[in-house]
C-alpha cells in the first residue's frame, strides 16, 4: 500500500505500462514541455524519449494520428489538454476510432486511450470546465472510464491501456490531488464492474467521479439524520454495471443519482432510466438526480460554486427520497 493522489496514480500507471509494453506511446500538447497542464506525463520524456510526441495545437490531427497508430498495432495514450477540446476531434473519436472494429466486420482493433482532464478546476469558465461523459456513452464502440479514487484510477488506467478498444479516460480536475491508498503491485480493474464505496440500507447513491467523495461526505452528515446510505461508484460508464447498481437499489428501495455534469440528457439520465426500468417493483421513492443545472459554467467564482453540485446537494436529495 502507498498513498497517492489520482494524478500520481495515473502517472505511475502510465510509466508502468510503458515499461511493460513497447507499443505504448504518448502524444499530446505540451506533454514533454510540462507533462501536460497537470504534469501527468512528467518524466516520460526522460525515460522513454522515443515514445512521447509533443504536438502542434491540432486535436483532430492528434486523435487521427492516434487512431492510425492504434490500427497499426501501437497503443497510443492521447492527452487532450482539456475535455472541452475533444470537440475539435469528435469525428476522429466517433466516426473513426469507435466504428472501425464494427465497420471492418471485426478485423480492426483500435486500442487508443484518450485522456480527458475535465470539469471545474480553477475558475476558467464555459469553454474549459465541461465534462460530457454522456456524449461518449452514447457512442457504441467507445468505453468510458470515470475513476474517483487513486486506486481506481491506477487499476482502470492499466486496463485502459491494455484494452483492444478505444477508451475515453475522464480525469476530473477537482480531484486530481485527492489522496488515497493504492495497493502495490499489479492490480487491473475490469471495465463494467461498479464498486460499492459505502454500504448502507436506506438509500442508494450512485455517484460518478468527483461526486463519489461528496456522496461519502454526505453519508456522514446523513448519519445524523439516522439515514444509512449506500454509495455505488460505477467506475466505468460504458460498459455500465447495471447489475450492481440495481442490486443495491433493490435492497434499499431508493436511489439518488449524482454527477457533476449537467443533468439534462447527462450520465445520470441513463443510470436513472435504467434503475426506473429495472427496479420498479422495489422502488419506494422516485429516482432522483443531482447534477449541474442546464447552464454553461459561469466564470465568477461564487456563481460557479453555486451551480456545481456539492455535498449539501446530495444530502438534500437523499432527504427528499427518504421523506
Amino acid at each position: 500500500m502507498s498513498t497517492l493522489t489520482i494524478r500520481d496514480a495515473i502517472h505511475d500507471a502510465l510509466h508502468e505500462e510503458m515499461e511493460r509494453d513497447e507499443s505504448v506511446f504518448v502524444i499530446g500538447e505540451d506533454v514533454v514541455a510540462h507533462g501536460g497542464p497537470y504534469t501527468v506525463t512528467e518524466g516520460i520524456a526522460e525515460r522513454f524519449p522515443d515514445r512521447i510526441f509533443e504536438t502542434p495545437i491540432a486535436e483532430a490531427g492528434i486523435v487521427g494520428v492516434g487512431v492510425g497508430a492504434a490500427l497499426a498495432g501501437m497503443r497510443p495514450v492521447v492527452e487532450i489538454m482539456y475535455l472541452d477540446f475533444i470537440t475539435c476531434a469528435m469525428d476522429e473519436v466517433v466516426n473513426q476510432a469507435a466504428k472501425m472494429r464494427y465497420m471492418t466486420g471485426g478485423q480492426a482493433s483500435v486500442p487508443i486511450v484518450i485522456r480527458l482532464p475535465c470539469g471545474l478546476g480553477r475558475y476558467i469558465a464555459a469553454q474549459h470546465s465541461q465534462i460530457m461523459e454522456s456524449w461518449f456513452m452514447h457512442v457504441p464502440g467507445l468505453q468510458v472510464v470515470a475513476p474517483s479514487t487513486p486506486k481506481d484510477a491506477k487499476g482502470l488506467f492499466k486496463t485502459a491501456v491494455r484494452s483492444p478498444d478505444p477508451v475515453l479516460f475522464f480525469e476530473y480536475k477537482s480531484i486530481y490531488t485527492a489522496e488515497g491508498e493504492v495497493p502495490d503491485g499489479e492490480r487491473l480493474i475490469p471495465f463494467g464492474e461498479a464498486e460499492v464505496k459505502r454500504e448502507g440500507e436506506d438509500a442508494t447513491v450512485v455517484a460518478v467521479g468527483p461526486m463519489v467523495g461528496k456522496a461519502l461526505e454526505a453519508g456522514v452528515t446523513l448519519e445524523d439524520d439516522g439515514y444509512d446510505i449506500e454509495v455505488v461508484d460505477p467506475r466505468t460508464l460504458s460498459p455500465l454495471d447495471t447489475e450492481t447498481i440495481c442490486a443495491s437499489v433493490r435492497k434499499t428501495g431508493r436511489a439518488v443519482v449524482c454527477e457533476e455534469d449537467s443533468s439534462f440528457a447527462g450520465t445520470g439520465a441513463e443510470i436513472a432510466a435504467t434503475i426506473a426500468e429495472n427496479c420498479f417493483a422495489d422502488l419506494r421513492a422516485p429516482v432522483t438526480r443531482v447534477g449541474m443545472p442546464h447552464v454553461p459554467m459561469p466564470f465568477a467564482p461564487p456563481l460557479a460554486d453555486s451551480v456545481v453540485p456539492q455535498v449539501a446537494s446530495v444530502v438534500g436529495a437523499v432527504r427528499r427520497v427518504m421523506a
Binding site: A58, V65, G68, T104
Partner: protein
C-alpha cells in the same frame, strides 16, 4: 520499381480488373443486389494502380468513399469485395461495412472511409507507428480534391511533415466534389500548391497517364522509405460515372465526359504506350481482359451464392468481448 513489360502487364490487368469490377458493381446496383452508396472509380484507375504497384504487402493503404480501385490495386481479393458490396457474410467486412468501408487488414488495407479526409490523420498515424517501430513500411493515403479543404488534411499533413513520417499523401483531383465543380469552391487550382505550407514536396502529375503516376509515386514512396518524409502527390484525373448512384450530372456536359473517355482513358493510353514498346500483343491483351472478366464473373457468383449475415452479427464486433482485463 521501374517499369518493364512484365510489371506493365500486371498493372494493365489491375486496371482492367478495377474497371470491370466497377462496371459490374454498377450493374448489380441496378439489379438491386448492391444497396447503399456506390462511388465508382472508373476513369481514375491509373492513380491507384500506378501508386500501389510500388507497395509491399506490409505497406499501409487508407482510402476514401471511392476506394474499390485502391483496395483491388493493393491486392484485396475481388470475391470478398463483391460480397461486401452485396452485404453478404463472406464480404471483406462480413457485410457490415459495404462499399464505403471496404477493408482488408490482412493486406494492410485499412479501409475506405465515408468521411472526406477521414483517412489522412490515421494514415499519418500508421506512418508514426512504423517509424516508432523502425520498420521501413510506407503508408499511402488516397483522398479527393475535396478533402484538401478540410481541417484534418491540414493538421494531418503538418504532423506528417513535422515528424518526417513515411507517408505519401495522394490527392486524386478529379475536378469535382460531389455535384460541384472544383473551381467553384477552391481557391488554388493545384492541390500540390499547398505542400509549401507543410514544407514537403508537392508534385502534380497527369493522373490518366499511369506511367507518369508510377514514376512520381515511385519517387515519393522511395523518399518515404528512406525516412526523408512525406510527399503530397496530386494526380489530375476524371471520373466517368456520377458521384454516386442517381446523380443527375447537371454539373457537366455529356461531351466533357465523352471527351475524357475517348481521348484520355487511362487504360487506352496505357495500352497504346505498351503497344508502342511491344510490351503487349493482341493475344495478351485479350487474355488479360478475359482474366479480368472471369474474375468479376466469379466474384458476382460468389457474392450471389453467399448468405446474408445472421441477424446476431449486428450485435457482434462493437467491442472485443473476448478480451479480459486480467488476461
Amino acid at each position: 520499381m521501374s517499369l518493364d513489360a512484365e510489371l506493365a502487364r500486371r498493372m494493365y490487368l489491375d486496371m482492367w480488373r478495377i474497371r470491370m469490377f466497377e462496371e459490374e458493381a454498377n450493374r448489380q446496383t441496378g439489379l438491386g443486389n448492391v444497396a447503399g452508396a456506390l462511388h465508382l472509380y472508373c476513369g481514375e484507375e491509373a492513380v491507384g494502380v500506378g501508386v500501389c504497384a510500388h507497395l509491399r504487402d506490409d505497406d499501409y493503404v487508407l482510402g476514401t468513399h471511392r476506394s474499390h480501385g485502391h483496395c483491388l490495386a493493393k491486392g484485396a481479393p475481388m470475391n470478398d469485395m463483391m460480397a461486401e458490396l452485396f452485404g453478404k457474410e463472406t464480404g471483406s467486412c462480413a457485410g457490415k461495412g459495404g462499399s464505403m468501408h471496404v477493408a482488408d487488414l490482412s493486406k494492410n488495407i485499412l479501409g475506405a472511409n465515408g468521411i472526406v479526409a477521414g483517412g489522412i490523420g490515421p494514415a499519418t498515424g500508421t506512418g508514426m507507428a512504423t517509424k516508432i517501430r523502425g520498420t521501413d513500411q510506407v503508408s499511402v493515403c488516397f483522398f479527393g480534391d475535396g478533402a484538401a479543404a478540410r481541417g484534418p488534411f491540414h493538421e494531418g499533413i503538418l504532423m506528417g511533415s513535422l515528424w518526417k513520417l513515411p507517408v505519401v499523401y495522394v490527392c486524386e483531383n478529379n475536378g469535382y466534389q460531389q455535384w460541384v465543380r472544383r473551381e467553384n469552391v477552391a481557391v488554388v487550382d493545384s492541390v500540390a500548391t499547398m505542400a509549401a505550407s507543410y514544407d514537403i514536396p508537392g508534385v502534380s502529375v497527369d493522373g490518366q497517364d499511369v506511367v507518369e503516376v508510377h514514376e512520381a509515386a515511385g519517387e515519393a514512396i522511395d523518399r518515404a522509405r528512406r525516412g526523408e518524409g512525406p510527399t503530397l502527390l496530386e494526380a489530375r484525373t476524371y471520373r466517368y460515372f456520377g458521384h454516386s448512384m442517381g446523380d443527375r450530372e447537371e454539373y457537366r456536359t455529356r461531351e466533357e465526359v465523352e471527351d475524357w473517355r475517348d481521348n484520355r482513358d487511362p487504360i487506352a493510353l496505357f495500352r497504346a504506350y505498351m503497344a508502342e514498346r511491344q510490351w503487349l500483343t493482341g493475344r495478351e491483351d485479350e487474355e488479360i481482359r478475359t482474366a479480368a472478366k472471369e474474375a468479376v464473373t466469379a466474384a458476382v457468383e460468389f457474392a450471389d451464392a453467399s448468405a446474408y449475415p445472421p441477424l446476431a452479427a449486428a450485435h457482434a464486433d462493437v467491442l472485443d468481448t473476448e478480451w479480459r482485463a486480467d488476461a
